[in-house]
């Protein structure tokens, strides 16, 4: 039989189509299929839900509804519907919440990448939309994929102090989370029943009729279970080299690549993790010396007292064991702080029995949290101190000498360092 030109064109067309990602035969991995995608999807369903909840709690921990200085997202509207007075018990609440948020987020990166890989052929579906619902679902997937990557990338950059993103971290990560989560919920509602059905039906990772399964699979180099071990291994590696930054001593040294892993900054009583050094915060040593520094405390009806360090030391001193826990996910174990109770300072200026909120100002020249507000429940807690000592010695300059706030369960940046002024009263 003579091969006609039409035949040749058809063959060439088929060959070209196979080279185009729009052809199902372009995707040749024998691993893709409903089983792998469903397993990864179910892991992300749990993992991302936990990320979202810990993130919302972390946001509430700043008490953004208390005062404008705490609120980096003043236009939040109904997105702050769930806000509540952040408690002071248990004292490790923020440490746990934010440690889980950041460590889990980093651990989930391989799962997210694998999930996106497993469904990438669907990006090139033809026709682009079969129905209006399908078209909207594909737009929703852009919000889902773009949103997931946006949240993971801004989070990963922020913990490494790499502020490349277009704006302040708080509003970007908070509003971005809501955009992402709306698409995530829609996707979960549409796909979870299917994923669970797939997992029940396919206890064994067998082939199955699905647009994810390659019609022309290449020779397998690894089984589907093997691929899952591979993804899990990547997650385990990230977990093991990150989680240690939430602990001290040997465990911190296991966090080989995490920003606050490795060695402590110096030794001795002040040799624990620092968020921002005195030099970075622009603290002038001339302002913190014994002669120059005065704490200004203002209270009921504008009653004001000015206290030098010597006068503060004559007030009753108390101790509390509390951690420093940062929004960046790292934390220290409990340090032994000693200083004047915030509620005793409130009593000095007319609030004897009813400690109110307090507005705290630092000597810091710059920084988003050089001024911060604490709520009355935080002021009233007997463990909340204006600390002058840590671990038995004077505070070091980098830990806030001459005086810093320390409050149980509060995010690190609300434990204001280099305190200059306290204004008690309802905010």
């Amino acid at each position: 039989m003579v091969r006609g030109p039409v035949d040749g064109v058809a063959r060439a067309y088929r060959r070209d189509m196979a080279r185009s990602p729009f052809a199902p035969s372009f995707w040749r991995s024998p691993l893709r299929g409903p089983w792998l995608t469903s397993v990864l999807g179910i892991v992300l369903l749990g993992g991302i839900t936990l990320l979202f909840v810990t993130g919302l709690l972390s946001y509430a921990a700043y008490n953004p509804d208390l005062a404008p200085v705490n609120d980096k997202t003043p236009d939040k509207g109904v997105l702050g519907f769930y806000l509540f007075s952040w408690p002071t018990d248990p004292h490790w609440l923020y440490r746990l919440d934010q440690g889980v948020h950041v460590t889990l987020g980093i651990t989930l990166i391989p799962v997210l990448l694998a999930k996106l890989w497993s469904v990438v052929p669907k990006l090139f579906t033809l026709p682009p939309a079969r129905s209006l619902a399908h078209a909207l679902e594909r737009i929703s997937l852009l919000l889902l994929v773009g949103g997931a990557l946006f949240e993971f990338v801004t989070g990963v950059l922020n913990v490494q102090l790499d502020y490349l993103f277009p704006g302040s971290f708080y509003p970007l990560h908070f509003y971005g989370a809501w955009v992402f989560f709306t698409a995530f919920v829609a996707h979960a509602v549409l796909k979870t029943p299917l994923a669970l059905r797939n997992l029940r039906r396919l206890r064994e990772p067998r082939e199955e009729q699905s647009e994810l399964v390659s019609p022309d699979p290449a020779e397998p180099t690894v089984s589907r279970r093997g691929a899952l071990w591979f993804v899990g291994g990547g997650s385990l590696l990230l977990f093991l080299t990150t989680a240690g930054q939430s602990f001290d001593g040997f465990l911190r040294r296991t966090a080989l690549l995490a920003p606050h892993g490795g060695a402590e900054p110096g030794s001795g009583p002040g040799g624990f993790q620092i968020n921002k050094t005195a030099a970075y915060a622009g603290i002038d040593p001339a302002e913190t010396g014994e002669e120059a520094w005065r704490l200004v405390v203002t209270g009921r009806d504008g009653r004001t007292v000015r206290l030098g360090r010597a006068e503060l030391l004559r007030l009753p001193l108390h101790s509390s064991a509390l951690p420093i826990a940062c929004v960046e996910g790292w934390s220290t174990s409990d340090q032994w702080w000693r200083g004047v109770r915030l509620r005793d300072l409130a009593a000095l200026v007319g609030y004897e029995d009813d400690p109110p909120d307090v507005f705290v100002e630092s000597l810091q020249r710059h920084g988003a949290f050089r001024r911060a507000a604490l709520r009355s429940n935080q002021v009233a807690d007997p463990r909340s101190l204006l600390a002058l000592f840590v671990n038995g010695e004077d505070l070091t300059p980098d830990h806030g000498h001459p005086a810093r706030i320390i409050v149980p369960a509060a995010p690190g940046v609300l434990n204001t360092k280099w305190v200059a002024r306290l204004t008690f009263g309802d905010l």
Partner: protein, 145 residues
């Protein structure tokens, strides 16, 4: 031509999700709207059209070169690149100055530690390879001449 609607439940769900996404999205875009939109869409485009094809092509090339032993290279290489991807700002030293000034910690160890982890990953893979091959040679019956 009439466009099919598709599942009404799915439509309602998606429109509801868009309305909420719009509410948050207006706030997300309130500042540098172009920059944020670029990051949001750019992240998806960069991942789907650059990162994924790049690592898929690298893996295909690896399979061609290493044949049935591909896993012994693929696993350590992928894990090492994963760590580099996540911790690139610290490993590359692009935030070294700010990092050192802010935290009081040394910015110098990250590259060295990443290289050491990479060495351990590849070294471990080599050990597994040798052990498995030895076991395979021992189990194989002696060749008949």
């Amino acid at each position: 031509m009439r466009i099919p609607l598709g599942s009404p439940l799915q439509l309602l769900l998606l429109v509801c999700s868009f309305a909420l996404a719009g509410y948050a999205g207006v706030r997300l875009l309130a500042g540098d709207w172009f920059g944020v939109a670029l990051w949001f869409v750019g992240a998806a485009v960069l991942h789907d059209l650059v990162l994924l094809p790049l690592y898929a092509a690298a893996d295909r090339a690896l399979v061609k070169t290493a044949g049935r032993h591909v896993l012994y290279v693929r696993v350590p290489a992928a894990f090492s690149l994963l760590l580099l991807l996540v911790w690139f700002p610290l490993i590359s030293g692009q935030v070294a100055d700010r990092y050192a000034r802010a935290t009081g910690l040394s910015p110098d160890g990250f590259l060295a530690r990443w290289l050491l982890v990479t060495a351990v990953l590849f070294g471990g893979s080599a050990v597994v390879f040798v052990v498995r091959r030895r076991r395979a040679t021992k189990q194989r019956p002696p060749a008949v001449h």
